[in-house]
């Protein structure tokens, strides 16, 4: 079901098989990656940053910017049983989804430990698209067991995706000729004819700001890029990489695999993975719907209460608390958890973090022991933490329909 990138050793490049794949947007992105700062995602070469993470972050918060989501895994799940199969797999009730809507979902193993999170696009009553960060081919196959009329197709390498985020994105898309895009509500999907093909636009993203995700066949990817960038030039368009994404998503309070959670199927040590309740995603678990994977374990967890709970923290001072230990007392003798992601938030002007904290301690005092370096010397700072219940960054424009021009 998957078309594998050509890795046959060739005459000219003996290392071809070892080189990362290139995204359909690569030619344009490579030209703009002045820092030659690349990492990798699902076998694709993927930008860590193009120019400067903070600058790119501000393009997202202040103007508009693009993020390559071609490496994201995309599956079409089709057939009369598609909805039932997906509903059996994920914890949320997707049977209520309307057409051309997107929903955020997680799925778990039998023990209720989270395998991955992703989004489901309902494109027709019997046609869905599932997107997620890691390959899900085997799990989809296993989940399809017993369903007669369901077909899963991996389109990860055929369909290009470009996340377009920031306050001036709607203005740019209007100018691109996407009529009525301003009326798309958050999680709506719209389809537009584009250069002889079809452009699918969802009002989704991973930045907590106004933004869209653009989906198109890879053959039209560069055409889309060029038109978008021609118009976007007057709106401050800029590609952003993983570093800036990580800043924006943390402000929005979104979780990241390998930061907030370890995928259950890749976890070696007992309970080093997480349940949705531990990740504060209990609202995604619907016990009223028919049976789904991990239900009984999750039901037991709900009764018992999770061991840990992912918590948003506002930390005094300005030393980023990444990897810090957390304690229930200032003397740091009673350890209660750890920071999963932490940074100085330029938008909120606060020292923010996501942290896994033992549930029974969340309501008490929380202190972070923050290690930092100054000219090769190590220092430690003990900082008081305050629990935040709302995202650190949630501008009204992210929810407004129609959104303004900036």
């Amino acid at each position: 079901m998957n078309e594998i990138a050509d890795t046959t050793p060739n005459q000219t490049d003996p290392f071809a098989g070892e080189r990362p794949m290139q995204s359909p947007f690569h030619p344009r992105q490579a030209a703009l990656n002045l820092r030659e700062s690349w990492s990798a995602w699902n076998g694709y070469r993927f930008a860590e940053c193009y120019y400067d993470p903070e600058f790119e972050y501000f393009c997202v918060r202040n103007a508009c910017a693009t993020y390559d989501i071609c490496p994201m895994q995309k599956y079409f799940v089709t057939g009369a049983d598609a909805e039932a199969m997906l509903n059996r797999m994920v914890t949320r009730d997707i049977s209520k989804m309307k057409m051309n809507r997107v929903t955020y979902v997680v799925w778990c193993n039998d023990e209720g430990r989270m395998i991955d999170d992703g989004t489901i696009f309902k494109l027709a009553p019997d046609r869905f698209m599932l997107t997620c960060g890691s390959s899900c081919v085997a799990w989809l196959k296993m989940s399809s067991f017993g369903f007669v009329n369901v077909h899963c197709e991996d389109v990860s390498d055929q369909m290009a995706g470009l996340s377009f985020q920031g306050p001036s994105t709607c203005a740019v898309l209007k100018k691109l000729g996407l009529d009525g895009i301003e009326n798309a509500k958050p999680f709506d999907i719209r389809h537009f004819p584009f250069a002889g093909g079809e452009l699918m636009v969802s009002r989704t993203g991973f930045t907590g700001d106004l933004g869209y995700e653009l989906w198109i066949d890879k053959s039209l990817a560069l055409e889309l890029w060029d038109r978008l960038y021609a118009i976007g030039a007057d709106y401050g368009i800029q590609p952003f990489g993983e570093a800036a994404t990580n800043m924006a998503r943390l402000e929005a309070g979104f979780i990241m695999p390998d930061m907030e959670f370890n995928e259950a199927l890749k976890t070696v040590h007992l309970r080093h993975d997480h349940t949705p309740f531990e990740l504060n995603l209990g609202w995604l678990v619907d016990f009223k719907k028919p049976h789904f994977n991990g239900r009984s374990a999750l039901w037991a967890e709900k009764q018992r209460g999770p061991e840990y709970i992912l918590t948003k923290l506002d930390i005094e001072g300005n030393k980023p608390a990444q990897h810090s230990w957390l304690y229930a007392n200032k003397r740091c003798t009673r350890e209660i958890g750890y920071v999963t992601s932490g940074m100085w938030s330029p938008a909120a002007k606060a020292n923010i973090a996501l942290a896994m904290i033992r549930s029974e301690y969340v309501k008490g005092e929380i202190w972070a022991s923050i290690d930092y370096e100054k000219e090769l010397r190590q220092y430690t700072k003990i900082a008081r933490c305050t629990v935040q219940n709302k995202p650190f960054w949630a501008p009204a424009r992210a929810r407004a329909t129609p959104p303004g021009d900036f």
């Binding site: 120019y51 400067d52 903070e54 202040n62 103007a63 007057d234 709106y235 401050g236 330029p346 002007k349």
Partner: protein, 539 residues
Amino acid sequence: MKRYDAIIIGAGHNGLTNAAYLARAGLDVVVVEKNDYIGGAAVSRELHDGWVYSNCSYVCSMMRQAIHRDLDLSRHGLMLVPYLGNVSFGEGGQVFQGYHDEQANFLELKRHSPHDADSMHRFQADLTRYAQFIRKTLMRTPPDPASFKPRDIRELIFLGRQFWTLGEREIYEYIRFFTMSAAEFLEDYFENDLIRASMATPGIIGTALGVYSPGSAYILLHHVMGDVDGSIGAWGLARGGMGAISNAIASALQAAGGEIRTGSGVQQIIVRNGKACGVALENGDEINAGIVVSNLDAKRTFTQVMDRNDLPPGIYKKAKNFKIRGSSGKVNIALSGLPKFTNVPDNRYINRGGQAFIGSMDSLERAYDCWKRGRWSDQPFIEAVIPSAWDPTVAPPGKHWMSNFVQYCPPKLADGPWTTEKRDAFGQSVVDRIEQYSPGFSDLIVHMEVRTPHEIENEVGLTEGNIFQGELTIDQLLFNRPFPGYAQYRMPVKNLYMCGSSTHPGGGVSATCGANAAREILMDLRRPNTVPEDDCYDE
């Protein structure tokens, strides 16, 4: 008649900050403002359809994060966006490009002078060290060195300790540094004239001094000690223009129950029985209050809105002689497109950040000579920035506006008073200067706002149009600001305070003067302090 706890005169960002902290402490406060809009010199105004100028101050770096965070200014709509890149224009087509990336910057410096590329590291380290020391004083009330109050002694010991940590050699250097000229200071580091000149320009901005005048080295430091999100020396733009800062603080003030009255110029501060007890407005109204806080500059406060007989002897004279010479102009230009500059590549990361039209060390000094003679130079130093290239909210898409800060421009001309014709001729000299480096520039002009010290004084209320509310020379800094003995925000009349940048630590849109003054006022009123301590990044 209603009696407020406090009246603050002037809705500039410091007045608003002061009022916000007093209101948060539970005081009933009112801010009175002579203009029909708030912001003072941190203001955004749409003077031409679709273009929003930062009419006076135009970039931001000193705004204290502690205040931003504490007043929750982000939620009140403030976002500070750092901008990248700057280009310094020298003579004979010479261009020095300031790249954001350290490596790229090193290479660019090396192209001009391998010596200077190396020296830059030492320069940055030294300057950072100096900046770290002075930054610690920003959100603290200066101690009175002649006082024996425990609090003053404690502060003196604190400062002494901080100073001592610089190390013996650096202590000598630091003392020298305070009295040096920017040119002398830079000679120690750089050989290349354009590099030296581009590093020297922060030493003259807003000041009636030349690059060779003693004292300009400190002003250089004053301009590079700020930061944007911890990167010291970086500069940012307020999204929506500098008025966004004032508007956010005003919103925080109103959320705390404070009141703002625009169109209410103050005629006089009312003093009864030796105590300030209210203000008489120009429209004839009187407002009573327990205390009066002036956000006007020191000269204006004591020579314009106070009765000389209400003041102790000597203060009037001190105020009259307060050094607040106007030295700069501002030309805001709406453009139909992005200007192109000779010898500057079409690199979006450098061609639309800051432009410094410099010339050379010599031309900087010659421009100062013109100021001394009461005229403007036809080769002025211009510090420009194109905010619209970074901020989608201040000009229509594809259109731009360019902020030009012009050094020098005299407050009084040798050949008689400022007139509209002379103002426009000054504006034209700025356009001509830019045209030298950007042929075709004038064709892009859609609208222009020209501001000489005359306009700045009349519209904003800054005496002589001095952007700092008083020069930042050592005789007017720390415990000498505005006058020796009165540096702790309390003024010689009881219940009268000052909170503008005539007070420590001076101008630069840091909001610290207003915050520090609030701390002192609350102490006098025996109210709990609402003003945060600084959380310096470099602790």
